[in-house]
């Protein structure tokens, strides 16, 4: 083995001091950082925003903001009175929880009254589309419809203010402002399906991004309330983005503890069994703890906030970070008169190259645009590096005098295995090779990529079902897709949005969607307001139709005169957009994105989309952009899946070249054959088992590459210490397997896929590695 000068100048006490100093600094940093709110739980935090144009990103943020804070509650019972009772109790409970800044049960009448009063002075400028058309084509139809409305045995909202609005035009406009008619009982919205009545309660959370403890509180609140309503014979449906987040956070926490506890227990048992001493166990735990702690502190320092899912991956990192310590301990079975410093000298090239290749694969992860993956990469890189540093800097001092006297059973087993397994493999290589080739090719054949962004989120089926049911009963929450409309000025924007809305109206009648919401549908611009006024003047007033109609109905002479006078006095009225917005509710205000340097923008929200193709086709209209976050992220996934494949190839070549430089081409090829086979088998298994194949598997494969190289490398440089090396590799494979195997139990599909891929890769790498370096002995 070649000696490095640096090792000659190696002073265990000095390096241990260095390590201590570093950890103290990290500790101080941690004491400041960890007291902040550093945990991210929201699903959207995992997704990249940098890829989008800023205006689309901005519109998306605004569109999501309101959506993410909404929680919808429907209390159901067989009678509406009971349903309302449940809802009223629920309301008190929700108000006490202090999670919400708005809990709305009674319909906000006052708001509507205010809006009516504020808009009323502009009644001759405001027309709904239908009245506009009737007036233009045949104003007599409007009069006929008025008679129908006035004579209806069922009260008509449009006719409520006949005295001040004799033509009922404003009544029509105002009722068109609220296209979905709600049924009120005791001032509360009650919807019904065939079996039950449902009272509606709308809440807005304080914060779009709830902290973990608040999410817990929310989840408990939902469970408690559901139980209580059920106990009284009712039913409660709850839905909202925050619930999905809360569920996700809960399962993530579960997974962190499963993986963390499972790995720790596994490591303890393996170490105690193998070394029959507490020292290696404590030291290994120290390396792990320092690695994880440093990773946590430095990642938060780096990102400000880290995501819960990062910690899930972080927990699985334990299985890899323990490797360096394991190889060190196992080496003690190798030499006769083993000294820690000698041991380090022997394993240093191996574990250093191992660290290097693993870091290389994590660097690949970090290059992706997904904040979640970048965090995983940085977290893992720091964790591994610090674990490595702990082993290198601290262990030589702390392992002084450590020399196990026994021959552990596992050493005998792995020793036997590493001797006989390669022989058996080689003697059967013909049919084994053929079988492997068929297996791998068959697996590749069935491999189908899926790039759906929704896989990032684990939603229990029940939650999704409830959300669907609520959407059915109360079809008011907009879909995540929307249109972004822009124009050079307000007039340009108005024209563009009107053009879009006309097409949307046609599509709505063809049932391609159930509803749309755009500002220009409610607010006519200054030009249009003048047109409206002229239309009424021309068709109703100047033609004498209005006067005749009012006389026929039985209005007083004075009432007719007053109406005509008010009409002519209103000629110059104009309602500006800010004035109109001030009267509108939050969901409509949210649609306006504002004007800046010659650029006006709004969004058009959509509900109940049935025909995506018909809607996407509308983006050909001038100034109209179709925004589908799910679709664009999914296509981003697909693009990055391809990029990650290239990355994998690059990492592979780099490792091949690096190893070739050190060990020669043949050696390099021999080492690299381990990860190659592992990668191929992983992919094939994904295919055979119909597992999810996406971008994330490729990142898992990067890790398999790193670990596979390690195993190959250790055997390659093992020389006469093949027994202790095989023990080290086996132990490290077992711990890694445990961690990633536990990851495969995750309910989030991508986490599961990640775990599965790595687990298969590691088993394969372990099985192939003893073939390397055979001829050296």
């Amino acid at each position: 083995m070649n000696r490095k000068p640096i090792l000659n100048a190696y002073h265990p006490k000095l390096t241990a001091g260095l390590w201590l100093l570093g950890m103290i600094i990290i500790g101080i940093l941690g004491s400041q950082i960890l007291t902040k709110n550093w945990l991210e739980t929201g699903f959207l935090a995992l997704l990249p925003t940098s890829e989008q144009q800023p205006e689309i990103a901005n519109a998306t943020r605004q569109h999501n903001q309101l959506l993410n804070r909404k929680v919808v509650w429907l209390a159901g019972a067989s009678t509406s009175v009971e349903a309302i009772n449940h809802a009223q109790k629920l309301k008190r409970q929700l108000e006490q929880s202090q999670l919400f800044n708005k809990v709305v049960l009674e319909f906000p009448q006052q708001q509507y009254i205010n809006q009516y009063q504020q808009l009323f002075p502009y009644r001759y400028q405001l027309l709904d589309a239908q009245s506009q058309e009737m007036l233009a084509k045949n104003p007599e139809d409007l009069i006929k419809q008025n008679l129908e409305i006035l004579n209806s045995p069922i009260g008509q909202m449009q006719a409520a203010d006949l005295e001040r609005d004799p033509s009922l035009l404003f009544g029509r406009y105002f009722s068109a402002q609220h296209p979905i008619k709600l049924n009120l009982e005791q001032g509360i919205v009650v919807v019904s399906d065939r079996q039950q009545f449902w009272a509606l309660l709308l809440t807005d959370l304080h914060d779009e991004r709830l902290q973990l403890d608040k999410l817990d509180t929310l989840l408990h609140l939902v469970n408690d309330a559901t139980g209580q309503v059920k106990a009284q014979g009712g039913e409660l449906l709850v839905s909202g983005m925050a619930l999905f987040t809360a569920q996700g956070a809960q399962s993530a926490k579960q997974e962190i503890s499963t993986v963390g506890v499972g790995s720790s227990l596994g490591i303890m048992v393996l170490l105690l069994m193998t070394f029959r001493s507490v020292r290696p166990l404590l030291l290994a735990m120290l390396a792990l703890a320092s690695g994880l702690f440093a990773a946590l502190v430095l990642s938060i320092w780096c990102f400000d906030k880290i995501h819960l899912l990062t910690l899930v991956f972080g927990a699985s990192l334990m299985g890899v970070a323990i490797d360096y310590a394991l190889h060190f301990f196992c080496d003690s079975f190798g030499g006769k008169a083993w000294l820690p410093q000698q041991g380090l000298r022997f394993i240093l090239p191996g574990i250093s190259l191992g660290l290097f290749t693993t870091l290389l694969s994590y660097a690949g992860l970090g290059l992706s645009p997904f904040p979640g993956l970048q965090q995983v990469a940085v977290f893992s890189a720091i964790g591994l590096s610090v674990a490595w540093l702990t082993v290198v800097l601290l262990f030589p001092l702390l392992l002084v005098g450590f020399k196990p006297k026994h021959q552990p059973l596992l050493l005998k087993l792995t020793g036997y295995w590493q001797q006989h397994w390669p022989v058996w493999l080689l003697s059967n290589k013909r049919w084994l090779g053929l079988a492997a080739a068929v297996f791998v090719l068959g697996g590749f054949w069935t491999l189908t990529p899926r790039d759906d962004v929704r896989l990032l989120q684990s939603a229990p089926a029940e939650l999704t079902r409830t959300a669907d049911k609520i959407r059915q009963l109360f079809p008011m929450s907009p879909d995540s897709q929307f249109f972004l409309v822009s124009g050079q000025d307000q007039a340009g924007w108005f024209q563009n949005e009107q053009r879009l809305i006309k097409r949307l109206e046609t599509l709505k009648q063809q049932k391609a969607l159930t509803a749309y919401e755009g500002l220009s549908h409610y607010w006519p611009d200054a030009n249009r307001q003048q047109q409206n006024y002229r239309l009424i003047k021309h068709k109703l007033v100047d033609s004498g139709l209005l006067e005749r109609y009012m006389n026929d109905l039985g209005f007083d002479e004075t009432a007719v005169k007053a109406e005509l006078k008010q009409f002519s006095a209103a000629e110059r009225n104009t309602l500006t957009l800010p004035e109109w917005l001030a009267t509108a509710d939050e969901s409509k205000q949210q649609l306006w994105l504002g004007c800046d340097d010659g650029h006006c923008q709004s969004t058009v929200a959509l509900t109940g989309i049935g025909d995506f193709q018909a809607l996407t086709a509308l983006q050909d209209l001038p100034g109209v952009i179709w925004v589908d976050q799910v679709e664009s992220l999914s296509s981003l996934f697909a693009r990055y899946r391809i990029r990650a494949s290239a990355l994998l190839a690059i990492a592979f070549s780099l490792a091949l070249a690096g190893l070739g430089f050190k060990f020669g081409w043949q050696g390099s090829m021999a080492i690299m054959s381990v990860p190659v086979v592992a990668l191929a088998v992983s992919l094939a298994m994904i295919g055979w088992f119909g597992q999810l194949f996406s971008l994330f598997n490729l990142f898992a494969l990067l890790l398999v590459l790193g670990i596979g190289v390690d195993y190959g490398l250790f055997f390659f440089i093992a020389g006469d210490r093949r027994d202790s090396t095989s023990l080290g590799v086996t132990l490290s494979a077992l711990t890694t397997l445990l961690a990633f195997g536990l990851l495969a139990t995750s309910s989030t599909e991508i986490v599961h896929a990640f775990g599965f891929t790595v687990a298969v890769g590691i088993v394969t790498a372990l099985l192939c590695a003893p073939l390397v370096g055979l001829k050296n002995t």
Partner: protein
């Protein structure tokens, strides 16, 4: 004057209930299923049949108008299918309604949730159930009866002061007095109870089915 505008939303609901009450009263009210208070026993004389049809004459006296709005037409009630309210004068229009759907010349409209309750209670002859929503007083003569219904619901109270139903073996007249001074008076004539619906009636009800 503003009160009407103020109550826009409630009104849609309130008149809805009133209207529904009208429609349901058109029908035969089954006697004595639930034991009604003494004043309700009068209504027990109503004939009990699944189908009722006849003519109506509706007179709406709106405060702002010097003369009443008068409309006439025919109605059909089917216990299972709902109500057809066909106005023939002054303009021909059709209104169809059942527990979950309301169709008018302006398209489909929401059916007030309370509607189902009142509707069912009246149609099912369960007048006692109406005491939940209304204070009921009545007079009973040998050949005729009269019931006055005053809403208990605060919101409804703001719009409707009283509904007065009167009749003999059939419901003959219904009067709705609104707090604002408007009065609607509907009288029913030529009431009959055919065995089955006509094809035209069937076709109209067909439009209500989902």
């Amino acid at each position: 004057m503003l009160i009407k505008a103020l109550l826009l939303y409630c009104l849609a609901f309130g008149q809805g209930v009133a209207g529904d009450a009208v429609l349901s009263e058109i029908s035969a009210i089954a006697p004595g299923i639930a034991l009604p208070p003494a004043s309700l026993q009068s209504a027990a004389r109503l004939a009990k049949t699944p189908i009722t049809q006849g003519d109506f004459h509706q007179q709406k006296q709106l405060k702002v108008l010097r003369k009443p709005l008068i409309s006439t037409g025919t109605f059909t009630y089917d216990q299972n299918k709902g109500v057809i309210w066909k106005t023939l004068t002054p303009v021909v229009s059709l209104l169809l309604v059942n527990e979950s759907k309301l169709l008018t010349g302006q398209g489909e409209q929401a059916v007030p949730a309370a509607f189902g309750k009142v509707f069912k209670a009246m149609l099912g002859g369960d007048l006692a159930a109406l005491t939940d929503g209304f204070v009921i007083t009545g007079t009973d003569q040998k050949t005729s009866w009269q019931l006055a219904l005053i809403p208990k619901d605060e919101m409804l109270k703001k719009i409707i002061s009283t509904m007065v139903l009167s009749g003999d073996t059939e419901l003959r007249q219904l009067e709705i007095r609104e707090t604002g001074g408007n009065v609607t008076l509907i009288s029913f004539d030529n009431i009959s109870h055919p065995e089955r619906l006509s094809d035209e009636q069937e076709a109209d009800f067909e439009r209500l089915s989902p």
